[in-house]
């Protein structure tokens, strides 16, 4: 890791929240990296995963990255309540919840596969649909992927950069545009393209908007 990428100071919980709520992607980047490098947090996630029976050495990154991104989302949507727990505790709780959910899903799948394997009933054997809860979350992701597939690769990248709070100047530099006005137009065009696609596919919008 480059030294210039290392956070230069210790963050308090308040500073982390301020950074994540800001639309300054460098501050967001710095705060997330601070958490990502925090030994206490990483070890807590490792211990939790070991306790849950996961291979902590190989899977910590996956779960931690997912939890940090989810934490960022929850801060932005105002779901994180500072009075309930500290940031690190909250992130470990996200890992706890999502890993437990995966374990339950795996267990259900194993039991179901056993039932299907053991059963002589062809209807049961042919059934492949998972329980509704699992299906719904997957369905939402599939709908999002479907909506994104309606975009050109360039538009997808522009919208992703916008979602990461890149400034128009930064997007211009990243995408090779001449100036930020061109970026503004490009962003508007891409968003319009996405909305039009969704408006023309109301079923997708409905699934995506489901909580």
């Amino acid at each position: 890791m480059n030294n210039k990428d290392k956070p230069k100071k210790a963050f308090t919980d308040e500073e982390i929240l301020d950074a994540l709520k800001s639309y300054d992607r460098r501050r967001v980047h710095e705060a997330l990296k601070y958490l990502w490098l925090d030994k206490e947090l990483v070890n807590s996630v490792k211990n939790l995963l070991s306790y849950k029976g996961f291979d902590a050495e190989t899977e910590t990154d996956f779960w931690l990255n997912d939890a940090l991104a989810e934490f960022d989302r929850q801060v932005k949507s105002g779901k994180y309540d500072t009075s309930q727990s500290g940031i690190k505790t909250y992130i470990v709780a996200i890992v706890w919840k999502s890993s437990a959910s995966q374990r339950r899903t795996e267990k259900r799948r194993t039991e179901k596969n056993k039932l299907l394997t053991d059963s002589t009933n062809s209807v049961l054997r042919d059934a492949t649909v998972d329980p509704e809860a699992e299906f719904m979350s997957q369905e939402k992701i599939e709908a999002i992927k479907k909506a994104i597939s309606g975009l050109t690769p360039r538009c997808r990248k522009i919208i992703t950069l916008k979602a990461l709070h890149y400034k128009n100047e930064e997007i211009a530099e990243e995408m090779g545009y001449n100036n930020k006005d061109t970026v503004r137009e490009a962003v508007g065009d891409c968003r319009r393209m996405l909305r039009t696609y969704l408006a023309n596919h109301p079923a997708l919008s409905k699934i995506i908007n489901e909580k």
Binding site: A147, I148, I159, A163, L164, R195, S205, I208
Partner: protein, 318 residues
């Protein structure tokens, strides 16, 4: 279906930035225009999609951090350096050296210098040998290959007997001391109290039966207030067996030196103090010095167990 609103207008409505009359007009249009409703839904869905893309991008970003870390690690190795920073390497080297030093010190102080106290069973000389040096048994010779103790009898003939089962070797001093108390107890049962007649209700016979049945608690209770040197000796052994080493040492210590069991009592006290090492270092050293200076001890200087006890005292802090 067409409507007069731009995407920006829909966004203003969703974000609450539309003025009262405009808002009312928008909602009237919304009630009758299906496509406007779909566009409003699309706007909400767009927000969800942006969130999803952001999350995916952040996860990708963090994976990139890991890849960068690994690449930097490789670069350091390629450059001939070590992936472990120098200060950590230095700390590890110091820790390893200290560990080796501690192991070496432990070996020389606890293992190399210490005789194998536990595994060399010997019998304490019987009463007669205590008072008549001519009859005392020579020190035991350890035949380590056979793990047997070879004892020379009075005529110089070798007699072999099996050593007791090998006990777990551990630094607990009481294990060593307990191994020495066996012959004392046997000698006591044989000599002090003549044959245990089941019909004999005398205290001696009762004590002997308890001794044979290992009812040490009953013995120590029965002799709680005794001042008789012989009974104090029995009490000392019983307390020792109960691992009440402090009380055992006191019982042995209250036997006068000038009685028949005086020296045996000192020996019993020494063993009890050995069991309490290292807390009793000073007390034991004084006792052993006293025994060495004792005229009787001069006759017993070849008694190996006593020497071993003295050796044990070397483990005491200086």
């Amino acid at each position: 279906m067409n409507h007069p609103y731009e995407f920006e207008d829909i966004e203003d409505y969703k974000n609450g930035n539309m003025s009262g009359p405009d808002r009312q007009a928008f909602e009237e249009e919304l009630a009758k225009n299906e496509y406007l409703r779909q566009e409003l839904e699309a706007l909400s869905a767009e927000g969800e999609i942006m969130t999803y893309l952001r999350k995916e991008a952040l996860i990708e970003e963090m994976s990139k951090w890991r890849r960068e870390e690994e690449e930097n690690g490789k670069k350091i190795l390629v450059a001939g350096g070590n992936i472990i920073p120098f200060n950590i390497r230095r700390a590890l080297a110091i820790a390893a050296s200290l560990t080796l030093l501690l192991v070496a010190v432990y070996y020389f102080t606890r293992i190399a210098d210490k005789p194998d106290f536990v595994e060399k069973p010997t019998e304490l000389p019987s009463d007669s040998t205590l008072t008549t040096p001519e009859n005392q048994s020579p020190p035991p010779i350890i035949d380590e290959k056979k793990e047997e103790v070879v004892m020379e009898d009075k005529k110089g003939e070798k007699q072999e007997r099996e050593s007791p089962p090998r006990k777990e070797q551990r630094p607990d001093y009481w294990v060593a001391a307990e191994a020495r108390i066996d012959p004392m107890e046997k000698s006591l049962a044989d000599r002090l109290m003549s044959p245990a007649n089941p019909n004999d209700t005398s205290q001696n016979a009762q004590l002997k039966r308890w001794m044979m049945e290992k009812e040490y608690g009953k013995i120590s209770s029965a002799l709680a207030n005794t001042t008789n040197p012989d009974y104090l000796y029995v009490k000392g052994i019983a307390l020792f067996r109960l691992k009440n080493y402090r009380e055992a040492a006191d019982a042995f210590g209250s036997i006068p030196e000038n009685v028949q069991r005086g020296f045996d009592a000192q020996w019993g006290r020494a063993l009890a103090l050995v069991a309490l090492l290292p807390a009793t270092c000073d007390e034991l050293s004084d006792l052993l010095n006293g025994i060495e200076n004792n005229e009787i001890q001069l006759h017993r200087k070849k008694v190996a167990p006593l020497k071993e006890a003295i050796e044990f005292s070397k483990t005491c802090p200086r």
